[in-house]
């Protein structure tokens, strides 16, 4: 399913999603953006270790496994970003002293990996039926040397770009939950990228609806 925004300039790659494909986790999802794909599995709310439990809310843990090699400092940094985004939407106060574990496995990386991880994480949260205050989606923007904005860049476009910005956009009022930048850009450029990402978020949320509808209309 190829999605195209108004104006035709900012085009997202074909998306694909499969929910509930793993039998052991409480929720699982695989999300494909072009050739980039991430598999997410969610366990929870489950019993937490006493050292990790929080008295008034659920303790959320994210593990990101790269395709090749052991997780390094970059994966830890992305885990922190994903965890903080999920903590902003998950209603953890409904499940105190429990642990929610989200494990993400990178299956292939062809650009826009972090936003694919965000999308897979949200789909896994939906599939597990966890109480959420809002949905979120990830959008990556590449700022080319001449100033044009490309959404959902491929690996080659990311390499050539002057700056790469990834946003996590919430479904309520399109608020920004997370923003991370690689490279340098001006404040105006960042705001333009954010506006483009918020427009693209509408399309992604519609895709979420269609995926969930498809999943539950079968059974």
């Amino acid at each position: 399913m190829a999605v195209e925004l108004e104006g035709g300039q900012c085009r997202l790659r074909p998306f694909s999603c499969e929910l509930g494909l793993l039998s052991r986790p409480d929720g699982s999802a695989t999300f494909l953006q072009g050739d980039t794909s991430v598999l997410a599995g969610l366990y929870g709310p489950a019993e937490a270790k006493i050292s990790k439990e929080l008295p008034d809310r659920a303790a959320l843990e994210v593990l990101l496994r790269p395709k090749v090699g052991l997780p390094g400092v970059l994966e830890r940094s992305r885990e922190q970003l994903l965890r903080q985004t999920c903590e902003a939407v998950v209603l953890g106060v409904l499940h105190p002293r429990t642990a929610i574990s989200l494990v993400l496995q990178v299956l292939s990386d062809a650009g826009s990996l972090l936003s694919c991880c965000l999308n897979a994480a949200c789909m896994a949260l939906l599939d597990a039926g966890l109480p959420l205050a809002a949905l979120f989606c990830g959008v990556t923007c590449a700022l080319q040397p001449d100033g044009t904005i490309l959404l959902d860049p491929t690996a080659r476009q990311e390499q050539e770009a002057r700056a790469i910005l990834t946003f996590a956009i919430s479904s309520s009022e399109r608020k920004v939950l997370m923003s991370t930048t690689k490279g340098s850009c001006s404040v105006e450029e960042m705001q333009q990228c954010l506006a483009a990402a918020q427009r693209a978020a509408t399309t992604i949320f519609q895709f979420y609806r269609d995926s969930v509808r498809r999943r539950y209309s079968k059974s």
Binding site: V73, L74, R76, S77, E79, Q80, T181, K182, G183, S184
Partner: protein, 203 residues
Amino acid sequence: MAAAFKTVEPLEYYRRFLKENCRPDGRELGEFRTTTVNIGSITTADGSALVKLGNTTVICGVKAELAAPAVDSANKGYIVPNVELPSLCAERFRSGPPGEEAQAASQFIADVIENSQMIVKEDLCIANGKLAWVLYCDIICLDYDGNLLDASVFALLAALKNVQLPLVTINEETGLSEVNLKQKNPLTIRKHPVATSFAIFDE
């Protein structure tokens, strides 16, 4: 009495202060804590700086070593930042391998160096494909009272400006490197990034 109220109703405690547009320690909303910086205090390091933002204390030490450049980037040196949050700085950090916060902070500092281009790796190359500088930047938090990232970036910048690198030449006949400790040059710092952190208290 106020301490008990702070423990029982922390949000309400802060709201009382925010209504008067100030914070429990008396600061305005846009005001930084008292900042002090002490440069060059570690004589065993090639460059060092100690930064205090209020009670948050961060020390950065830079050591320069020589290494062969990577095969795919023969004209680039290395900058390796590492942020440590030892169990000394706050009781929530246990001793052992670095936790998520320390690793995420190390990645953040590496991103700041790379994105701002404050040190261009090509400047660290001595001889193309043969010899380059490696700058190990160790940032250690001694007292964690919030705003670690701002203090770390500040300490890193101050320590890098303090670095004096000896002149290294390669002897053409022997092919070995010669280090001249008498002649030292500072690093070329192209950009000076400053980090500022904000918190949004949602009403």
